[in-house]
Symmetry: C3
Subunit: 132 residues, 3 copies
């Protein structure tokens, strides 16, 4: 089964928690044991898994990335978002997550996040669920 999740981002750079939306797709799929894949079909946004408790962790991630991959630099690409493309390479476009007992087998502190690097925009994620 594959489903699409829509996400509206509100800043140029932010991590948006999509754990509840992804979990809903797992529940709908009826899959008890298998794998879920959260895939981002954009080239200036990505997906990651990290701490879902203190929102300062997300801010530190965004802020480190902004410092290390600066928006303004000697980029060749003319659209002013080369930093976002580089951050997508570093973060990755897809996160595989085991599904057990009909749920995402995430650790206690893990959440799933869309990483917006060139927003605000309307984004979508594909969630594929495979039994096995």
């Amino acid at each position: 089964m594959i489903r699409e999740i829509e996400v509206t981002t509100r800043a140029r750079e932010e991590l948006v928690d999509v754990t509840a939306e992804v979990s809903r797709v797992i529940a709908e799929s009826g899959v008890r044991s298998g794998m879920a894949f959260v895939f981002c079909p954009h080239t200036t946004a990505a997906v990651t898994i990290n701490e879902n408790a203190d929102p300062d962790v997300r801010r530190d991630i965004v802020s480190w990335a902004a410092g290390t991959v600066p928006r303004k630099a000697d980029w060749r690409h003319g659209e002013g978002n080369s930093d976002a493309h580089v951050k997508v390479v570093l973060t990755g476009p897809c996160q595989p997550i085991p599904v057990e007992a009909g749920r995402l087998a995430l650790g206690t502190w893990q959440g799933v996040f869309l990483c917006e690097y060139d927003g605000p925009r309307a984004r979508r994620l594909l969630v594929k669920v495979m039994a096995g």
Copy 2:
């Protein structure tokens, strides 16, 4: 089904578009709905998904990586390619991609790239396709 793709790289560092080759494997597999996994069995090359329109995006990625993970630095590994090993950690050796309607479910601007970080060399990628 699993297939091997051969790629000859031409520079020490470059991103080579392999989208057509990966798409051909999906077509041959006959899988209509499932997942594809593009896996790089090397430790100084990797796989990523990013913009396939403006080649300057690829150049910006390679050039940012060269600046942030310098070839010459206080490395311990004696082969002079520690920067390539680090870039493989950052990029990742495998990209999972959903397959729908018998095709890679990539976004409009996405292509699949072999990331050469210690070429030029003869490289290979494994493409595994699973139905489900």
Copy 3:
């Protein structure tokens, strides 16, 4: 099939080779052809695939990360481990690996590593094996 691997780390930052433990799970699963997923359910540790021959490669990876994502910086998160959270984003929490002929289809020089970024600690990895 899914199995848990326990890993005891001994330093704040280190890469621990878990290739043998992951291979054992593949053997136990009886899967001849399919995919394995090595998933880290922690937010300050990750999984990567890189050279398993010269241990200096691992040291270079850890040392580059320590320099580029410093432990002490202008972080907001109060626990003193924001650097570890950032490194997990860069490394990734899950590595998919093809399984062929009942074995991990790794390249000659590849090993699977738990990346400890905030140890020493007791860690665990989930290894999921899917046939297909």
